[in-house]
């Protein structure tokens, strides 16, 4: 079947200045201007954001769920990266 809908774009919304952009969904559009306008009409009808990113879906590379274990494993045995690994004497109070 022919493609009549244009490519898929991923939409990221920033709620307030200073906050991170959060993925909120996707949509179809033929170009980036249209993607931005559609994102506004589809995902911010109730002032849910003050800034939008649209990214072509095929530009995103995702890690694969099957490799989740080995891929992230190397962080698991590095407890010394957390502050709770270290003992601080009570006498000095908060550090």
């Amino acid at each position: 079947m022919s493609d009549n809908q244009g490519p898929v774009w991923e939409v990221f919304v920033q709620k307030k200045a200073g906050q991170p952009f959060v993925h909120c969904g996707s949509l179809h559009a033929f170009d980036k201007e249209m993607a931005l306008q559609n994102a506004r009409d589809l995902y911010t009808r109730r002032s849910e954001g003050m800034s939008l990113w649209v990214v072509p879906s095929n530009a995103i590379t995702a890690s694969s769920p099957e490799d989740q274990g080995p891929f992230f494993e190397s962080a698991n045995d590095k407890v010394y990266r957390h502050p709770t690994f270290y003992q601080i004497p009570d006498a000095i109070g908060h550090m």
């Binding site: 079947m1 022919s2 493609d3 009549n4 809908q5 244009g6 898929v8 909120c24 969904g25 996707s26 949509l27 179809h28 033929f30 170009d31 249209m34 009409d41 589809l42 009808r45 109730r46 995702a62 694969s64 769920p65 099957e66």
Partner: protein, 313 residues
């Protein structure tokens, strides 16, 4: 080397109430079930724009007109959230729309009833959206991530839909005698079709068992129907209207109402294409899609041309 048993991983996720995501392994039947359910849901949102859109030009005030416009626009948005959720399962938007337009895919039976008076717009928002909310609140915890997340967005927006419908009903029910009669007439016509929205009785529902097993649904059709009646009857009483069911009675033992089942033979007729408006709805959808053809072609040509200019520069 350790091999992963994907089926165990999938079952483990369901058991731990974790979400299944698009790239995760899933049984083929689970994928098929979701495509069917999510696309039917999406089609219902889009077709649902038609009976209400029918009254936009005839809304009795500017206020009610802007409210109805916003409501119908939301329904379009809900359809789009759901279509993109369905697409994560590996089916294209064109294919989804084609299934709707050729009559291969179904949509909610409720939208094959006509909206004859302004009171019907009140009844649709109040009852139909009320029933939809009951179903959708449950679906926010569905096991498939993109579906559940679309539901969270939709539920946030639905509550306005139900309230605006109830407001229309309130104005009519507390208005002139004729207005109150109009409200009662709409309730009479929409009560049973709304009850059908939850689907056939559990014993005869072909898809329920899998939907529950896979944690797509967490409450059965009959449980949701009972919940809806319990919640709605006091609202009918507030309006001073009467539920068109002589058997309706509070049952202290089950702490819920006893009520009559809708006419399931009528339900079967409607989902097999023979309701009062099935042909009209499909024709309207096909016409809208056909009339929009040149817009899609122009947008595609414009994007292509701009890309060429960009690449040449």
């Amino acid at each position: 080397m350790e091999t992963i048993n994907f089926e165990n991983v999938f079952e483990g996720k369901l058991a731990k109430n974790e979400m299944v995501e698009p790239k995760d392994w899933m049984p083929e039947n689970y994928r098929k079930h979701l495509i069917r359910q999510i696309s039917q849901h999406a089609h219902s949102e889009i077709v649902g724009m038609l009976p209400e859109g029918n009254w936009i030009t005839r809304a009795p005030s500017l206020r009610s007109k802007i409210v109805l416009l916003a409501k119908v626009q939301d329904e379009g948005g809900h359809g789009l959230y759901l279509y993109t959720a369905a697409e994560t399962l590996g089916i294209s938007r064109d294919e989804l729309l084609d299934n709707l337009h050729t009559g291969k895919a179904k949509y909610s039976s409720i939208f094959n009833y006509p909206t004859l008076t302004w009171a019907d717009i009140g009844a649709v928002g109040w009852l139909v959206d009320g029933a939809a909310i009951m179903n959708q609140v449950m679906l926010q915890r569905a096991s498939y991530g993109p579906y559940a997340r679309a539901m969270v967005r939709i539920c946030k927006e639905e509550s306005f839909h139900q309230r605006q419908g109830f407001e229309v009903m309130t104005r009519l029910a507390f208005g002139t005698t004729e207005q109150k009669e109009m409200a009662q007439d709409a309730l009479n016509r929409w009560w049973y079709p709304t009850m059908m929205m939850f689907g056939p009785p559990d014993a005869e529902s072909p898809n329920s068992e899998n939907a529950m097993k896979w944690r797509i649904k967490r409450e059965t059709n009959d449980q949701l129907r009972q919940k809806f009646v319990n919640q709605t009857v006091p609202q009918v009483e507030y309006l001073g209207l009467t539920v068109p069911d002589a058997q309706l009675k509070w049952n202290e033992e089950k702490k819920g109402y006893d009520f009559s089942e809708p006419n399931w033979a009528e339900f079967k007729q409607i989902i097999s294409g023979n309701g009062p408006c099935n042909k009209e709805r499909l024709a309207a959808r096909n016409k809208a899609h056909h009339d929009g053809e040149w817009v899609r072609a122009a947008a595609m040509a414009h994007a292509k041309k701009k890309n060429e200019v960009y690449e040449a520069a």
